[in-house]
Symmetry: D2
Subunit: 135 residues, 4 copies
């Protein structure tokens, strides 16, 4: 399994009148977490796009156990448990500063070639970087 | 079953550099759709909050079949299939202008009393308004 | 002078923990207002982009007199007072349901050709549509 | 003069279909920059709210010289040039990784007491922390 931890500070813009982080804004936290997880493997999502592969989201699910609040420092844990095919599957857990698990999520994205707009294999470099963590 | 249709025009702010609606922004579409669905039953979410009940999201899942693009006019179909308990469960389908189903989602929210910050029953008025649609 | 009125309902996503519309979200309201103002003249911003002209923002200023709140129905008044050159200048006023002026803003955008990424003249059709309102 | 530098990495969520950071999202960057600037002075915006003072935005202006792009690392420079009264005035400059000035902005916020919802003096601690930088 590959895992990575990303710290995120809740912005005022991300809260809503309930005083909680708006449920739609967690998607951005998971984006930051997975991009930084890939960067820790020397894989740049930006470069992958420049090389002609985009990675739109196919499935997203999210459970909210406790709210996140303004200025909280959250740890977003990212896990990749299976070698990507034309899809890559991320698991996420959010831990607050009291060490409570407040949120769990899964995001599945599809590698899509900009040449023909069809699903494609992941970049070879990503596979080789993950191969020391995954069978 | 109770159902409702809400039209939404995609804003430039909601797109991303892929040219698609960013996956996190669908949450806002479902918010608008469920609030307007309730309003069609004469239930004001705003008034419910003023009366001391908030409705945070507990579970959210989303499948993306086709992208939505800038300026698209989308139909968000909202369905309530079961009478709410301390939770209310919404199903959503998004239809684009070519009449394609591009997205399906489910959102479960919890009625929480501001008095004690605990789950509570839904407002009686909501139950009675839904009772002609649901058993 | 050309003017146009656009109604916008404040979304929960747009509020912050202060209970106000977050100051950054007014930019989206002005986007919707100017796009619908142009549409009322049969000018499609989307089509303009497809025809090779983008319209990035060059200057933006905003004054906040009173807050906007969740579920408020706001009127965004859009004014074009001068014929566009390589730039187009919009004035905005936001009126709440008590008929109070709560916000004033100005946005200047530049017509940029995608061919050479340089400022260019506005589409002829936009000029002719505005010519009955402006000298 | 008091100044502070904050690094911000552009998120995918913040881009739009033009491939630029959406003009409304700079407001969030300036929020993060001013909050971290205050934190560097041991002033917590969160605690100030808990102590009964909120800080809504009164004026905001922004000039866009060059676009910011996905994954860019930006430096947001924050300047406080005058001692705050019932208002506090921030100047901002955004520098990209090529050391180009891409954006300039000013934000004026008002100290408002939650007791009576009226403008009030800034916290004494903020004044004393700024007094070594400002006359």
């Amino acid at each position: 399994m590959f895992s990575f931890e990303q710290k995120i500070r809740v912005r005022y813009a991300e809260t809503d009148k309930m005083g909680y982080v708006y449920y739609g804004n967690y998607a951005t936290y998971f984006e930051v977490a997975r991009v930084e997880a890939l960067r820790s493997l020397d894989v740049s999502y930006k470069k992958m796009e420049e090389d002609g592969i985009i990675l739109p989201v196919y499935k997203y699910s999210n459970e909210f156990y406790k709210p996140a609040h303004y200025d909280d420092e959250l740890i977003i844990k990212t896990f990749i448990k299976e070698m990507p095919t034309t899809k890559i599957h991320f698991h996420f857990e959010i831990i607050n500063s009291k060490n409570e698990l407040i949120n769990k999520a899964e995001v599945t994205l599809v590698f899509v070639s900009l040449k023909n707009n069809k699903p494609c294999k992941p970049p070879q470099f990503l596979i080789s970087q993950l191969s020391s963590y995954l069978k």
